[in-house]
């Protein structure tokens, strides 16, 4: 209502029937019906993404914490810094309490202090939530860590929409775009828990800084922790009709979609773009040559992520290819349980399969 409109002459008549009210008792939901409507079986519910349940931490929910503790067992230089993420570091705290540094809710200080530790000869692993570590602290990451070539390991958990339940403040969908522009920074994104472990191991001796973009809720891709060659992608499924390239949750979605497509006679190659920087141009160009049809899948803004990089590389090399990019749109994103958000934005096996069919003209 604007100022020019006259207020209603009278308020609602309390005696008049409410037009929205049910007319008869029969139309009122029972208590059971209300509960069923509020919590139907099919309804996605938020899981506790911060849980540190020892019962299933070992391989599933906390590969980062378990593996960092193992790395610390093997190398006295390994320390871990937490910006209020200490639950993840339970194993390290138990075995090497002196090498655990809590910095509280102070991300910028945490990252710059890690740079100081690295300059003094340590190998600091910084645990942070992706939106508050990578995005809030881009400048510390750039100026103190990356520009100085310091071996800080930046572990960004809860990336993408993993905390999508909490609000748009908790989305981390611009972090790859930011991280990939930072000179000297290696940017990797594990496709599942085993890949997380494999990446932490494979990069342990890298002399420069490494940014790990950790996804939650991934589908299984690797049966055991793989050894990743620096800067190289992994072909996780051969195929001849198109190439689906993903990272993080995108790899498992692509694999699942490829199964569906295979039943329809479409053979999709799936590449794990585990290294976003350095970018495996050779693998991309080879795939473009093999299938000529490329679909990227990522839990990231459509600007600046894998789809953008692929388009840049193809353009620079004047390689023609049919390209489609499945990513999050550059609009105000919805808030909700991650699985519901993924479904909303087509980041599902079915969503990937639909885009793949369109790309091959099926």
């Amino acid at each position: 209502m604007t100022d020019t409109q006259a207020p209603p002459a009278t308020g609602p008549d309390p005696a008049a029937p409410d037009p929205g009210a049910p007319e008869s008792q029969e139309q009122i939901e029972s208590q059971e019906q209300i509960e069923a409507r509020q919590q139907p079986e099919s309804r996605e519910k938020m899981v506790d993404v911060f849980a540190d349940d020892k019962g299933h931490t070992q391989a599933k929910t906390n590969p980062v914490g378990v593996e960092i503790a193992r790395l610390a067992d093997a190398d006295d230089r390994v320390v871990a810094l937490s910006a209020d993420m200490s639950a993840v570091l339970a194993d390290l705290r138990a075995r090497h309490p002196e090498r655990y540094f809590e910095f509280g809710i102070a991300e910028t200080n945490t990252i710059s202090a890690a740079a100081g530790m690295a300059a003094a000869g340590l190998r600091p692993y910084v645990l942070s939530m992706a939106p508050f570590g990578a995005i809030k602290c881009a400048e510390q990451l750039r100026t103190d860590v990356a520009y100085n070539h310091l071996p800080v390991r930046f572990v960004a958990r809860l990336s993408g929409l993993a905390m999508g339940f909490f609000g748009t403040s908790h989305h981390a969908v611009e972090d790859v775009a930011i991280a990939r522009t930072l000179t000297n920074l290696t940017v990797v994104a594990p496709a599942d828990s085993n890949a997380t472990i494999g990446l932490l191991r494979s990069t342990v001796d890298h002399e420069g800084p490494v940014f790990y973009r950790i996804s939650e809720g991934t589908l299984p891709v690797y049966p055991e922790p793989p050894t990743f060659e620096y800067g190289k992608w992994v072909q996780v499924r051969p195929g001849t009709d198109l190439t689906i390239i993903g990272y993080g949750i995108g790899v498992g979605l692509a694999l699942s979609a490829a199964e569906t497509l295979a039943a329809e006679g479409i053979e999709a190659e799936v590449l794990d773009a585990v290294y976003l920087k350095p970018f495996d141009r050779e693998a991309l160009l080879a795939a473009a040559g093999r299938t000529g049809k490329l679909l990227t899948v990522e839990e990231h803004n459509e600007i600046g992520g894998l789809g953008s990089i692929v388009a840049e590389v193809l353009g620079r090399h004047r390689v023609p290819a049919d390209l489609d990019t499945l990513a999050l749109p550059d609009v105000d994103l919805e808030v909700g349980v991650p699985a519901a958000l993924h479904a909303h934005y087509d980041l599902t096996p079915d969503g990937v399969a639909r885009r793949a069919r369109a790309l091959v003209g099926a």
């Binding site: 002196e98 710059s112 340590l122 510390q140 100026t143 103190d144 520009y147």
Partner: protein
């Protein structure tokens, strides 16, 4: 300048903490830093005069008396660290590092040119002697905190000194670092020196946002703070000589009360005019004469 301070001649020559040096010599050394700063800025065409002049005595005392160093071995693990939070005054350090033998004196001739290892703000990757890069205000106290924690973890007794501007402490990250350092009780392992010259780039610091009382604020965050005349070399020597042991108790904040543009009348009178600038040849010659007269 005829320096009488000792110079290293090999990798292992060590400059110990609190080495004996005449206070008058340290004061002359500070003026020499001012002279050389004028020369370098003249060569480059632009520079931060008055902010450098306010900390010339601090540079002199640290590098010619207080810091434990091996200039022939810049990455020596047990050296004391010095971080230049207010990175815009690196010009004043370049002649010091050359004089101590971190790099050849002719590197100074490259200052201001593309490809020079000596930038207007220091880069640890390029210039030996620089313990950490700076330029973005507010970062280096955090970095120093990390270095100090690393020293304690590895059982080394080096000290980490961080020079911040008084305007720099308006940065929020500085207070994250102050809070954490107070929590970790690094004692004399972490020393923040606030160059309290009272001015930022565009005017009096506390006219923008009041920072006083600096000492009370640090103290409230778990530090011990001491106020000192930042141009009194004897007082600075005594302050650094009396630092508490490394790794125990409250870290130390030295609030160095200084004058922006100290040592040149025209800059003391109008400090913010000379935060960033370039002296004309006539001004330069008069400035050099004023400083040289004091050094004789």
């Amino acid at each position: 300048m005829t320096a009488t301070v000792e110079k290293p001649d090999s990798e292992t020559v060590e400059l110990e903490r609190g080495r004996p040096v005449d206070h008058a010599e340290l004061a002359r050394r500070a003026d020499w830093i001012r002279l050389r700063t004028i020369d370098l800025i003249d060569q480059a065409g632009l520079g931060h005069y008055s902010s450098t002049f306010s900390c010339a005595e601090i540079f002199s005392v640290l590098y010619y008396h207080s810091l434990r160093l091996r200039p022939g071995q810049p990455d020596w693990a047990d050296r004391d660290r010095f971080l230049l939070g207010k990175g815009h005054v690196a010009t004043g350090l370049w002649p010091v590092y050359a004089d101590l033998g971190y790099y050849p004196a002719d590197w100074l001739e490259t200052f201001g040119q593309i490809g020079s290892p000596l930038n207007d703000h220091p880069n640890m990757r390029l210039a030996p002697g620089v313990d950490f890069s700076s330029g973005s205000l507010g970062h280096n106290l955090s970095v120093g905190l990390g270095m100090s924690l690393a020293g304690r973890l590895t059982g080394r007794d080096y000290r980490t000194f961080v020079l911040t501007g008084d305007g720099e402490i308006q940065e929020g990250q500085v207070w994250e670092a102050i809070m954490a350092a107070g929590h970790y009780r690094l004692g004399g392992g972490l020393v923040a020196i606030v160059d309290a010259n009272g001015f930022s780039g565009h005017g009096p610091t506390s006219d923008a946002i009041n920072i006083e009382s600096v000492a009370d604020r640090f103290t409230a965050f778990g530090w011990q703070a001491v106020e000192v005349d930042g141009h009194d070399v004897a007082a600075l020597c005594a302050t650094f000589d009396a630092l508490p042991p490394v790794g125990e108790g409250r870290p130390v904040c030295v609030v160095a009360r200084t004058r922006k543009g100290k040592g040149l009348a025209m800059m003391e009178e109008s400090p913010q005019s000379w935060h960033l600038g370039h002296l004309t040849p006539e001004q330069r010659d008069r400035a050099r004469a004023e400083i040289e007269a004091r050094m004789r």
